[in-house]
Structure formats: structure tokens, C-alpha cells
Symmetry: C2
Subunit: 354 residues, 2 copies
Amino acid sequence: MTSPIGLHRVLEPRGVLPQAALRLDNASEIGADEVRIAIERLNLDAASFRQLATKHNGDGAAVRAEVLEIIGARGKMQNPVTGSGGMLIGTVEAVGPDSPLGLKVGDKVATLVSLTLTPLSITDGLKRWDGGGEQVPCEGHAILFARSIAAVLPADLDPELALAVMDVCGAPALTARVVAKYDNPTVAVIGGAGKSGSLSLAAAKAAGASRTVGVVPIERERATLQAAGLADAVALADARNPVALADAVSAALGGRAADVTVVCVDVPGCEHGAILSTADGGTVIFFSMATSFAAAALGAEGLAADVTMLVGNGYVPGHAAYALDLLRQVPAVRGLFESRLHHEASRATSGTAD
Amino acid sequence: MTSPIGLHRVLEPRGVLPQAALRLDNASEIGADEVRIAIERLNLDAASFRQLATKHNGDGAAVRAEVLEIIGARGKMQNPVTGSGGMLIGTVEAVGPDSPLGLKVGDKVATLVSLTLTPLSITDGLKRWDGGGEQVPCEGHAILFARSIAAVLPADLDPELALAVMDVCGAPALTARVVAKYDNPTVAVIGGAGKSGSLSLAAAKAAGASRTVGVVPIERERATLQAAGLADAVALADARNPVALADAVSAALGGRAADVTVVCVDVPGCEHGAILSTADGGTVIFFSMATSFAAAALGAEGLAADVTMLVGNGYVPGHAAYALDLLRQVPAVRGLFESRLHHEASRATSGTAD
Ligand SMILES: NC(=O)c1ccc[n+]([C@@H]2O[C@H](COP(=O)([O-])OP(=O)(O)OC[C@H]3O[C@@H](n4cnc5c(N)ncnc54)[C@H](OP(=O)(O)O)[C@@H]3O)[C@@H](O)[C@H]2O)c1
Ligand SMILES: NC(=O)c1ccc[n+]([C@@H]2O[C@H](COP(=O)([O-])OP(=O)(O)OC[C@H]3O[C@@H](n4cnc5c(N)ncnc54)[C@H](OP(=O)(O)O)[C@@H]3O)[C@@H](O)[C@H]2O)c1
């Protein structure tokens, strides 16, 4: 009997869920409710890729070797430092008779559950990847459980673009849900020119934000986000500096803190600044996988800040369709995504660091 | 000029808030808006004490030496592994002319901001503490900032009891707030026989829960919590085993998952079980300082669980008064607290492990 949440694939330690496992069984034979995917491309989580690239000083071959080693040892892709994974695209290769996912052999799909719980086997040694970017072309297979989520890739969008959107699609959906609970709130998105950040800015506006501010770390991103017109104001600040961040947000919002603050950066140490940037009665949504639980909990207490703090749940029903629709309807979001993908691709080809 | 949030006391690294600092200036001279407390007793965070006791195999002298070393090196008490601190009681010794806290010299107070951001100096080498329990009698001083929170100890309660209640008073206040947003919800409290757990059970009932279940790890606690009558049902399960925990909660709630799940245990690895125990549309409140952000975020995504996950904010306006009132009004809560304190005290005296 296979378990809908994949317990039967956990090799070590026994009894935990696949995400918490040290090692998964990545055997290619599928159970009655499982699906096997022939992989085409992995999309590593931004925080995970950044950690690996930093650790190896941008040496792509070393990054590639470590990713291969992790997948080989664990039967899944989970960065041991950040704890995060990413997602993948591929083609459905086999569908068990009892699978409830509604997929058929030949469907081109993206998995919307994390790589940290997906049994994975790589067969080409990642030879087509130079270790220089988050997108990893590869061959091998992955297994989906009954309670996994996978979306058939839309026919009208480039698969790489669709994958990049789906990877972060939990952020705009949850942002919209939270913003809709307030009356004309002000919204600050930290990391507003990034992938989840730009989608969250568009979602906040669509859900009724009265004023939005996107915070970016460097002048080039300020110019890009300003030109895109996705935020009512764009502020320049290092999110790791709590006082500078709160001052920048407040200056952009006419001297008040934000009702809703969305943390979409991929560096550690942004908890206190996000809390300081949020008004009493407001909500902070932490999407960054580099968020420290203790820093957030103790930070709010230490600042006597009456704010609601949410762990960014990557799953909200309908999240993929919602994010893809935002991309279709807001040309500026599409523009930011395409230029970011283009930038990553050219960086990967030229091999130069950014 | 002193900063209301204590930036002027941060020695390393510059620019971060006191909680994130590696080292604080614990000098006894106070600024115009500061307050100095003569310390009588520290109350170490449960997760922190457990980590230290486990690391040193229950060797009290080694635990004491490490606590002294931490405070000496950092100018504050912050466990480097758990990141957590605790709180303290003492007597107000000096009040700056501009302090907004409303305290006067001679007031007996408890600090409601974490020790992780409170400048602290110990002068008696912790000689009256044997390292065997969370309550640490000591001499020295601590500094409060303008935006700190301290409560004058109530005259009708033993100070040790009041301190233990105030230490966890964020939990019942936030539980009540969340429960009140649902219509007759079912509530599961993981670690229901503990300090924050028993208060949260009482708060859930007071805020309108239709049915509560307290989950405990061992038979002795099951008997205690059942006798206390604080929960409609008591279930026995190890919270680190996700499937066992979810099954126990569901069995106690007539085959359904909980609308609100409150995590009050002090061990790591409870995120997935708490998520699995919660119904779609429900809320998980994580109070445990041993919570992993990534495990919670990726766990919910991996289980396709549409649950709201809250970082337990230790500050809710009026939290101390609310928790003390619950203790006064619900004799069973008081009974559990008193027997837990008694148990800790006798364990400390006898020196035997539990
Ligand atoms: N829980 C979930 O469901 C969920 C969903 C979506 C995303 N995420 C997480 O959210 C994070 C962001 O993902 P992403 O794909 O949107 O990444 P991204 O596209 O790389 O965006 C991150 C943005 O943050 C900016 N940034 C970096 N350091 C900063 C600093 N110190 N101050 C201010 N801004 C800074 C980056 O600027 P530069 O490009 O100039 O460095 C970039 O614009 C990741 O950790 C990801 O795992 C989680
Ligand atoms: N963020 C906040 O504002 C806030 C507020 C309050 C509390 N907290 C945190 O919440 C946690 C609990 O604090 P506390 O003072 O209430 O601690 P406590 O009194 O020691 O209670 C913890 C309870 O969890 C039980 N437990 C331990 N391991 C378990 C397991 N594997 N399965 C099920 N139950 C288990 C314990 O049972 P045994 O006694 O038998 O081990 C105990 O009853 C700490 O991490 C604390 O820092 C945070």
C-alpha cells in the first residue's frame, strides 16, 4: 500500500514525512497512485542557489558537483543549509491506475510541490548545466504522490517563463488574500523587483491596496521597478538594516508604517526591519526561505509590535492559475520576468558573475 | 541620544537591533529614557534550558558555567543554539527622567521583553543556582529601553508563579484572538499540560471553542491533564511523529482535523504533525521556539494544506493581565502551574533527573 503523502518512500529516518527525510527511495517503479515524470529541467530555489553560489565563490563546476552529490545522497534535492529545494518541469511518463492527479502520459507538467519532498534521480550527470544559474537542464525521473500537485504547462507561454512564475505562485495568492482582509491598506513589498516581489505588488494592487511601495537594494533595480510602474513608490534600502528599511517604507507612505509588509528577498536577517516597517494591527508575510522563526517571534516581542506574522505557505488553492493570469494581464510583470530570465540566461552563457 | 529600541547599546555588529546583536553594552549607567533593574531571578526559556541540560547530560555545574559564559560574552542571555532567552524579575533601582514605562524606584517588576535583547550583568557568579532548573536566582542588573515592556508584579500572587505565567502570556492572548475569529471552532493544543499549553486551553475555551483537545507525550501528563478538566479530550501522542499526532487529534475530534492548532511543545520537529492535524481553512499557531520556518513553509506546500500559519508573537496588548486573570479564574490552570513549579523546585533540590 502506498501512502498519499509518500510515507512509503521515506528510507531514513522512518516515520517522518518525505520533506523531513534524510533519504528518499527514488526507485522508478511506481505505486498504484503514483506518477512518474521524465525530467527536463529543475528550477532551484533562489535562496538555495544563492547559498551554493556564495559558498563556492561562483565556481559553477563546484556548485554542480554539490547539487549532484546532494541528489545522489538524499534521493531528492534539498539544500542542507537553507533546507529548501525548488521545482521541476518534465513529461508524464507513467500514471498509476489510482492516481487522482488527472494527468496522462505525454502531458508536459510543472510540479508545484517542493523538490525537498520529491523522489528524484538524475541520469545525465547534469552535463548540460554549468552551475551558473537557478535553471538546471537535466535528464532523469521524479515521482509524484497522490497528494502532490502538478500543473499542465499552459500552451500560450514559454515553458521556462511559466515555470518561473509557478515557482513563486504562492506569494501573490497569499498576498491577495491578506490584502483583501484590510480596508484600502498600504502595502510594502521588500524585494519588489524580484520574481515573487513583482507578482506580489501586482496582486496587492488587484486586491485593493490603496498605496504600494516596492523596496529594492540597488539603484539599477530602482530604475527598473520605477519604469515598470508596478508600485506607487519605489524605495532604495538594504532590508538587513532594520532602521534604514523602516525609514524608507515610512518615507514612501507619507510618514506611516505599512498595513501589510511582504518579505520577498532571499537573504537572511530581514525579520526586524519588516516588523519595524509594519503598523500596529498590520500583517507581515514572510516568504523568504531565509527567515528565522526565532528572530521573528522574539523581534516582535522585543519591539512590543502588535503585528500578525505569517509563515508564507506555498500552497493556496488556485495559486498557479492566479499567478499566470497576473502575468498575462499585467505586461509590466511579464516584462520583469522576461528580463530576469534573459539576464540569468546570458549570465549562464557568458559565465560572468553579476 | 538613546534610542527607544536600544540601538545605542548594540556593540556588535553595528546597525542591527539588540535582539540580533552578538554583544550588548551592559553598563550600569542609564540614559534619560532607560530604567535599571536590580535582578532577583532569571527565568530561562524552556527550549533553551532543555537544550543546555541535554547538551550537558543534566550536569548542573556545566549548565551554570555555560549560562555565565554566554552572559559574560554577550552582555545578554541568548542561547546560541535555540536563539531564545527568557525573562527576569527584580526591583527598579533607577529611572531616567524621560522613561515612558511608568515605573518607580522600588517597584517589583517582571520584564516582558525577551532576555535576548536585554542588557544584563551578573555579579554573584550564579552561586545560588545549581543549574538544575529554569528558574535562576541571581544578583546583578538589567537595563530597560523606552519601548521595553515591564509589569509590576501583582500583590495577590507568589512572584515565582506570576513570573512563570508572564513568561508565556503571549500564548493565551494570541490563541484567544485567533479562536474568536472562527465560529465554534475545534482547537488542538499540542503540549497541553505545559505552561503555555494549559493557559492556551483555558483561553480557547473562554474565546468560544466548541471542543478542545490537549495532546501530551506521556501517561503521567495524560492523567494530570484529564484530572484538571482543562480540555474536553486528552490525547497521548509524540508530536514529532506527524501521522501519530494527526491520528490522535482526529480521533479526539470525532474524525475531523482541528480548526485551530496551537503548538506549545518545546522540542523540534513538530511542524508537519501540526499541519496534518489542521483542517483546510484552519490556523496553526507556532509558539514553540524550536519551530523551523522552512519545515513549516515547505511542509504545508508539500501536503497541499490550505492552512494559515502564524509565528507566535510574544506581544499582544494586555497579554500579561489576561493570562494572570485566567490563572485567577481557572483553578485548574493554577493547579497545573503550582505543581509544575513545585516539581521543578524539588527536582532542583534533590538534584535527580526527571
Ligand atoms: N513560501 C513560499 O511559498 C514562497 C513563494 C515564493 C518565494 N519564496 C521565497 O522568497 C524568496 C524570494 O524568491 P524570488 O524567486 O522572488 O527571488 P528573486 O527573484 O531573486 O527576488 C529577490 C529580490 O530581493 C532583492 N534583495 C536581495 N537582497 C536584498 C536586500 N538586502 N535588501 C533588499 N532587497 C534585496 C533581490 O535583489 P537583487 O536581484 O539585486 O539581489 C531581488 O530583487 C526566496 O527565498 C524564495 O524561496 C517562497
Ligand atoms: N512566542 C511566544 O510568545 C511564546 C509564548 C509562550 C511559550 N513559547 C514557547 O513555547 C514552548 C513551550 O513553553 P512552555 O513554557 O509552555 O513549556 P513547558 O511548560 O515545558 O511545556 C511544554 C510541554 O510540551 C510537552 N512535550 C514535550 N515533548 C513533547 C512531544 N514530543 N510531544 C508532545 N508533547 C511534548 C512537555 O511534556 P513534558 O513536560 O513531559 O516534557 C510539556 O508538557 C517554548 O519553546 C517556549 O519558548 C513561546
